[in-house]
Amino acid sequence: MGPDIILDARIQTPLRDFTLDVALVARPGEVLALAGPSGAGKSSFLLAIAGLLTPDDGRIAVGGTTWFDPRARVNLAPERRSVGLVFQEYALFPHMSVQANVAFGGSGRAHEMIARMGIAHLARARPGDLSGGERQRVALARALAREPVVVLLDEPFAALDPVTRTEVRGEVAAVLAGVGVPVVMVTHDLADAAALGARIAVLEQGRVLQEAGHADLMARPASASVARLVGANLLAGTARPGPSGLTEVVLDVGGVVLSGEPGSGRVGVVVDPWEVVVARSRPGGSGLNAIAGTVRSLAPVGNRMRVAVGPVTADITRLSAERLALREGDAVEVVFKALATRLVPLG
């Protein structure tokens, strides 16, 4: 498993209503998230990499090894590829203990993985006796125990309740960071992708609409559907108690913001773009957050103007944009209320 093992996949295959035509590259240690509406072809792409779906055309290569290339008549069976696939509902073997599930891939690392995922006390339990979060840990341990050269996650957090989801998301991020192989995940929730620090490829109707980090997708959505999907700003930071019962978050990008929601440790400050105001100067008033930055981009989205300032994206009316005479490179302040923010724990 060297640092040069890159997943390079191009998949072309007809699905029911459209043709999937996607070419993506994932580097070691990188998380590539496929996002988009259901039925966009995300899962088909994942299954094709695993060898569980044979595309009409394309090429899948990992490092120097070709897994699929119809022109060279190469199409390795799933068991001859090296993928760790975590299924959406986990597909744990119900008749086997946790230990047997994790050891199914036949590697001596089962014990180690079980310990690392914190499920040693469940080794003899059956999947049916586990909670959603525990099943998810077992599924990941099983997928990683074989030391795959590519990790594939299909909606890994979709089956979890919101509280467990946040908790497991953090753990998965930590475990994947230590694995150092390309990770491809399918999700319809960009918070999942953001929590894992993923580069995001937005798919619709079998095509990649845009490929970028979360902040860039926010700032410059290539289309209205990307804008809809991306949703809210997410600013990572560290929370501590602030004045008058508010929570103070020291942002990773610099600056401090206040939130009306409780939180501690690593958190993401979530604020919707339409809650953010752009101003030429810092307004007074407690409970108002202001972050200084330069205008990175201006993009009209429908009747609004989407303004990216530093790490924050604001949706303002076109009228206000004209009144402020905003141009790229201008120094401005983005302002939002402490009560307009939500805090989500990050791993």
Partner: protein, 271 residues
Amino acid sequence: MRHTFTIALWLALGLSLAFLMVPVVAVFLQVPPGELVDHVRGPVVRDAVIVSLRSNVIADVIIVVVGTPAAYLLASHRAFPGRRVLVTLLELPLVLPPAVAGIGLLAAFGRSGLLGGELSTLGIHVPFTELAVVLAIVFVAGPFYLRQAIASFEAVDPRMVAAARTLGAGPGRAFARIVLPLAGGGLAAGWALAFARGMGEFGATLIFAGSLPGVTQTLPLAVYAQLGQDFGTALAIGALLVVISAAILLAVKAVPVWDPTSSSTPVSRHR
């Protein structure tokens, strides 16, 4: 009103139970138990037990060994053309009258039958041998197993197999370690149905294999043969068949059944 309705339901259940149980109970009560045991020890019954068990075991081995992979193929390839026709053909013997099955087997494997000439040159003579008993059982009981096995395999979540494959298992290992255990309860139920049908097989066997004591006379045929001569022995054989059938039913109920569609606890059939 509701009360009357509930009473009607209970009445229907009581009637069903009484009608279904009376003949079974009568088998045991008509003759004192000690006499039943004495009859069972007789040579006629012993021979019939041996013929029945041997031919059924051989037939069931054939049914399971050939039927299991055939059913798995049909269950895992759900979209090939002609699949429905194929499944219907395999199920046809289920609705065929046993007498037709017997005459059909005779027409196929009899001396002047469809394959009779070929079999004769090979020195094989099928009708009125134990092989004929086995073939009759495979023909009438096999579809019971096939049908249940296809349903059991279809109920296994294909993602389980997919997961096994990505974990390095080839199709054979995935079948042995994942599909078979998950479908096991259903397969056992299918086998029990086939065994029960095979043990009770009468018409096709009588026509195709005859009722030669010690050779082709199975337990049901012995019941018929003893009917005019020794009613006690006929009853004793009946009692024996009831015990065997009940034992199979209990054994199959004890097999754990995994809900093959999810990672959950076994769906106990006792509940």
